[in-house]
Amino acid sequence: MDVRLSADQQALRDAVAQAVDRLGPRTVADLDDPARADRLEAVVDGAGWRELRAAGGAAGGPLTSGVEAAIVAEELGRGLADVPFLGPTLAAELRRLTGAPPAPGPETVAFAPDLSGPACAVGGGLPAAVAVDAAGARQALALVASADGDRLATLAPGRAEPRLDLTRPTWASDPAAAPAPLAGAGALGDDALSRWTALGLALTCADLVGVMRGALSLACDYAAGRRQYDAPIGSFQAVQHLLADAFVAMEGSRSVALHAAWAVDALGAPEALSAAALAKAYCARAGRDVCEAVIQVHGGIGNTWDCLAHVYLRRALLSSDLFGGVGPNLGRVLAHHGIGGA
């Protein structure tokens, strides 16, 4: 057992951190600067970080383990990176797990409207679906139930808009358009679906840890500079304790998220899913608590559009809801312990 990051993993983390620190949004206004976002997109695209889970590793496995993918997700979350990562990574994982050919262009994944799992068509029609992290995606992968397991299908793109999360736009599927079966792909068995879900949970946990770190850093800087009663508000014990609790919640989240990322490939599918669900329940609760505390520390300013605090909170809410937030994942944990129904 040695859960320190390896030298290569540290180098990967530093490379992603450098990219987002240089080119990520530093203000809310930066989100409307397409030239900056394009430069970040070019760096992320060129680095190949979205292909870490594509086929190409040993024995048909992914190029890297879930840990590397989670390292990228965490740093992108910390920097509020407004470029796709989660969607294309999960799409690449689906293609690898089903032996499908590589995507012809940028693609993402479609979820059920409550985001708790992948969009899955039963009996021809797809009731409704939401493609997430969909900036620039030419299609979204969905599932179609069949007798021998779920099959992949593609959905034609809609207009991607920043709705909940201002850094990762979504689009709702056209209910009239049927999903097109994807040729050359096998069925997604139960174990593969569990592993894919485990990866999705682990990556959203990593994103939440990153968001918490970024939001806390914003709040600590603000608390050190903002003065009331002739003193920085960060010198008041009430504010200090709010931020200390937020930091502690982030540290606990980091420990479970790291384990979930490792478990994706290292444990059996049921254990990987349970580890990821446990991490997600913890990180989803912590993510909302921490971002709410960060808004509170910012006071009136934290309740204005131009303060980045709500951008972190919005990103945390999307990451929480994907693959289920607190409730569904507590249910998964209980089921793993032989207790049904949370």
């Binding site: 057992m1 003193a231 931020l243 200390a244 944990v333 207790i339």
Partner: protein
Amino acid sequence: MDFGDSPAERAFRLRLRGWLEEHNPGLPASSTDDEYWAGMARWHRELYDAGFFGMSWPTAIGGQGMESVYEAIADQELAAAGAPPRPSLGYLVWGILEHGSDDIQARLLPGIVNGRDRWCQGFSEPDAGSDLASLRTRADRDGDDYVITGHKVWTSYSDDAEWCLLLARTDHDVPKHQGISAFALAMDQPGVQRRPLRMINGITKEFGEVVFDGARVRAADMIGAPGEGWALAMTVVSHEREPGELGYVARYGKLVKELVARVRKEPGAYGPEQVRELAWAIVEADMLRLHVCRRLSDRLDGISHGPEGSVDKLLMTAVEQTVGHAALVVGGTGVDGGDDTWLKAYLYSRAQSVMGGTSQIQRNLVARRILGLPAA
């Protein structure tokens, strides 16, 4: 990055697992009755004699000089077997290793590690709780000895201990943090009066108070230099706040395992709110297990006596008190004439946010020393 076992770690794990099948003493996971402490002393010696205690401490003091991650593996196996946790003594060991002379280390540490000597920690006083540095117990030089006068309270195991790691004021003319020295004081002497304190769950063995009236300690039994007591205290409490040092992962694992078994046995008897409290107990306890893996792995880069202990203490407190709530709602209070062990475990959990420095003190330390927030 690997949470899995190396071949050597796997072999150690299986050896401990096999040993536990024969040697689990079946004690409760925490201090819910007075039998517990008597049993723990024997448990310490059995664990040590079988090679499963103090693995990561230096061989010179009776440890095995192994990597700290073996402590995490031991905790996981103790929890999985439903065995009692290992004794929580690491803070004493690290404090004396960091500040004691070679002579002090050689004389005192082997008995702590092998369980032959039992220790208590004479830090808090009636008027010096969170503000520990305002302590008033005095140590006055008299020939080759110091004479101790004062009053210590909330002292764990004071009734049974042979030795006390005592903080006392040796210099009254310097700022309060600088005038404190640390001693190893023998408890069995006329100037030491011990009184048990009854905790809120009714037990009397864990907690006590000690009045020193003319007790004597040799000057050679001062640990560190005169005035070094505060620094030693800070080393001790930084480790007293670490779940990896305390072995509490096994304690919470055992409690959660028993609560899960209750619900599985009779699922219809528990409503969704009770089951949700149990789910959080499972999540929190496992978080701590994984967090300890992280912290003990970090020790491969060298041990730190820094403020991270305050983060860990706050995490551990959340776990203990979440498990406590699950114990209360799943285990029940015994008001119907049944077993009140779970009520006692719940009541005991309230101490975790006070002992070893209150949660408010830990938050101050995190804010100031980790987040770098400005002083008031």
